[in-house]
Symmetry: D2
Subunit: 352 residues, 4 copies
């Protein structure tokens, strides 16, 4: 941490600040510039120390120079984290994975129909929301635990591992029992009780980036999970909120190489939520793979215009099936490959 | 709802869309322009209908023309909602209320000291967080239930009603038992399970605006609470996230007259979180009152540079006491007045 | 400037960086922490030096610790800049000034009618655009030089000084000859050739903040003008671009106390552009004065629904006249006063 | 255009509004819903009409249903615009073009060295700024006309066409004489006098998106150029301003498929400005090509740590040469190909 003194700060001010720093068991190191003095603070640097000095009238600024996240950072672990599912599918290595399925689980029939389309089209993981966070209390809120059972059945029939969202700490147990990957949605990225709770389980966690959260805040939310002992965290970018109104969100594809530098955790891109327009999904999925993403998450619905949520951003099974070979070619162009398809009839790779 | 057809849409396209609308039990009304045809949809207009037509290749756009919130809107209730606390303090009428106190309850001594300073300075309600949402898992996370007890004691000694945050559904019961106003923090504005839970209680709810939530989303979150039967909702603007980095947030003071038009709910402004800099708090609090806010929420700490959270935005008791008469003058200038001060020794106005 | 070395940086890396710094005639000062070494750079700190070291693989970060603006900063000039117009009106002192008038000069008749309404209602300066920057090439683009002549006539008849926008360097001469204050619009805040050109004249400059420019960038744009010798710069906040769509912009009223700390230049708030909704203008104007602004800029149009631009945010003369006494009371409540009204018939205070 | 009446609007209100619409020579079409009446406005729909009705107390909202741009839209021209340079290079067809070079022309020697590296590495067009818009008046402002001469010489020696920025209308003539493509920088995207001026020339225009401009505003700025008769406009996305601070901007790669739908103009992506970090450039360039961009613009500097501007985002010649084959593979994966390299010694393809 560095304390920048105001340009008119007196000797007494500087001594006083140094005294206060040292009273906390930290060391100081003065650097006197032409214009102003800078105090380097040496030692463990808790959050509250920064705030303690900002208030002082002789202080211009207090600057942190270490990153606030530890376990989720590259400095903590040089090699990439690879999250492996019960059926052997690995996320974060050389293979690109495709998660696909409906926004919401709307019923057993439609889910099974979609799951088969996802598997037959070349998808690796089935997504589908049983608990749905909706902006309006009057919108469809999901089937809840009944929806979880439909996911179990879809996995049994298709062999696809499933990822589904959990919204509240008291449901973590029931979701983690069933899902292969537990999803934390964008609106809950800073629901810290929920993060701690999924951190106490061993089930892999897909942590979506909040609508307007920085990369640093996102890694700190991952840190909540990791610091509870669960290291199987997958990051998922799904678009951030900006001034642009033509798209639902602005998809930050550039986060892929940035996270590659900063963190060892796998990164998935969700172009469906990221754009909100199905016609943009294929191009953005290709871009994500070209940028080096470990996978994509795509909304697929057999009849998007009947979807109870997010129809406008869902691909039909036909469009989904047409996209997969495109992704295969782009993956090859950047030295990767799509994960092996799930074998038809391999409906035994249950999570539990 | 209005469906705008593409300029090249054929007669058959238009008929097909109308047929689909009518199949949902809604009526249609054609308006043929020089360039394109517009289909008015008449009848109840659920969220999912909009999405159902966006996907159609002959459709250019689907536009909602009714507001999605009902109970929180002016059209539902013309007169202002006034939230009255057990000690008679009314929020949302002609009087301006001042909520003040530390960011976190750090201990009983400091809380009592601050509470006395708030009351003596002219504040009406004591704020203080027992459960603290923190970006980093390594930051001080609050005293939890012990902190709630300190708030009870502070209320007993000073007579100040208390407002404190609840972060997770399972704690709503214990917080609502104790607090005069239950606060939903900015990061939880779209924690829908939590909103529903506070909606099931009768305790007034202070609903902070999310960091990057629109006014419409905010009113929809209020709608979650109201639709469960709890009509005592107070809105609190605390700054939104923008590109500006010199301040912690951008305080949207202009939301006061906008909400006055759109909603009947009271509006409070929090210039402490809204700016993150104590030196800006007084000016912004005055601006809030001049804009017509029903109150302000101000962080006060006896020794800001020792605060465990948010010291840089906290006023000292001296600065707080100097601000109150400024607010009194501004309130008078806009035809309002500060609420009556809590009588010293009136330490009996308990919530329960 | 401070260079933060990566945590694994070697002795040789540190020496190499220090050598490169010293080769530029700057001094270095090492501060070795537990985790990483920090190099303080002492001496004149040009912009390009920061970039020179960011690229180095052993460098974690390079942090500027001095503010990049000089002449527009408080450190350069402690006392407030007061801009005085030919008729004696002072902007930036204890008095609050009201600039008002139509968005565009649409013709002589409507301008004269509006100017009289502004003067009779208690305004001090007439605003009106002759050159109009419009998002669409198909929108009304202003009357150009003919519009300037109407402003001259309106000043002659009412005695109100005039402020009007200049959009391009080649028109600065003709606008500066006529206007009492030359306005640089939001879209031109970083039109650096234009800034330099108005800097070469002596006419006061009203510099609007760009739609998405930071406070620091704004002061650097002011610096362009000041560094050419024109110190009569007035800052005008007119709303920034955020994710919110219900209002045209988000009005950053909190910039008033922040600029008070950072700069000696006067600050004006424009709630008309800042909100885009006439019904919000009065409340925001009051808030601006309560926050300490040196004035407000208000759009007034005799028949807003016939305005060729920005009708929805314009006050009628009646609403304007009703607002002025409100501002007078708020100014008094914060220890200021409105400037003296222009005397009727005082139509001689020409700029030239 | 559609006028949505308030739910309580009376028959007289509706008649009055219809009368006002019809008085403008437009037709109306009523659609009476259960809750409120909607008036369809039929006929030419100028900008100012929308504003005329927003102000009315009986009107809830006025909604445009046609896009405000014409010439730059897909509806105006179904087939893609292909911009062809004097040396035959085509932008906007099946080939992907690479523009590369230094941020600023810093001198003849460095420019020639960079130009050779760009050509030898596989680039097609040389970029380099002679006139530089800089946030600070104290930063390097470019070599001006001398810089233009260096570009001419670099083109003569390498055969690479050149693209360079023009900042002010009075310099358009001299830049357009020399450059193969005239660039409008992000800060000038809404410098309407400048747009009109480049529209009057025939030289192709590279129009960068403003830091916080919407896609619609961008296409309207293109419209300024097209409506003057110059149809050779190339759009260039270079990152938008968001709340994220780790990168210089947020690169909106998703704009590529969106613009493909909305417009016939070619789209180039600039990952150097879009991220501000050289280590992210290659991944984002690959993503751009995978998304379907017509080309990329990359900053290359022989010694980035000595660059007078934007060193941190510049690739070395080595890194640039390593990127080109990656782009070739990705282009092939999406059914495109890189444009043919400029033949060595082909130094005769002058612009004039």
């Amino acid at each position: 941490m560095i304390i920048v003194m105001k340009s008119g700060a007196s000797r007494a001010d500087i001594d006083r600040i140094c005294g206060r720093v040292e009273a906390r068991g930290l060391k100081t190191h003065l650097s006197e510039g032409e214009d102003r003095t800078v105090i380097g603070v040496i030692g463990h640097d808790p959050f509250s120390v920064k705030d303690a000095f900002t208030h002082d009238p002789s202080v211009e600024d207090v600057i942190r120079i270490t990153r606030p996240y530890k376990l989720s950072g590259r400095e903590f672990r040089r090699s990439d984290t690879v999250v492996t599912l019960p059926n052997g599918l690995a996320i974060g290595g050389d293979e690109v994975v495709i998660m696909a399925g409906p926004c919401s689980v709307e019923g057993e029939e439609m889910l099974l129909e979609t799951a088969r389309a996802v598997r037959d089209g070349g998808g690796h993981i089935l997504r589908g929301g049983a608990f749905k966070p909706r902006t309006s209390p009057y919108a469809f809120q999901g089937l809840g635990r009944a929806g979880l059972q439909h996911l179990v059945e879809a996995r049994r029939q298709t062999g696809l591992p499933v990822v589904t969202e959990v919204m509240t700490p008291s449901e973590v147990e029931s979701v983690a029992e069933i899902a292969d990957i537990v999803q934390i949605g964008a609106r809950n990225m800073q629901n810290f009780d929920l993060l701690r709770e999924v951190g106490r389980h061993t089930r892999p966690v897909l942590l979506k980036r909040g609508l307007s959260n920085t990369i640093e805040e996102w890694l700190l939310s991952a840190e909540y999970v990791l610091s509870q002992g669960n290291y199987n965290v997958i990051l998922c970018e799904r678009g951030i909120r900006t001034f642009e109104t033509m798209t639902r969100n602005t998809l930050d594809i550039a986060c892929v190489p940035l996270l590659e530098e900063l963190s060892h955790l796998p990164v998935i891109i969700d172009p469906s939520h990221g754009t909100g327009r199905w016609s943009m999904v294929a191009a953005c999925a290709r871009a994500a793979v070209a940028a080096g993403a470990d996978g994509v998450m795509i909304e697929v619905h057999p009849r998007p215009d009947e979807a109870l949520s997010d129809g406008p951003q869902s691909l039909t099974p036909q469009n989904f099936a047409a996209l997969v070979p495109q992704l295969r070619r782009v993956a090859a162009a950047v030295g990767k490959r799509l994960a092996e398809p799930v074998r038809t009839g391999a409906g035994t790779a249950v999570a539990g």
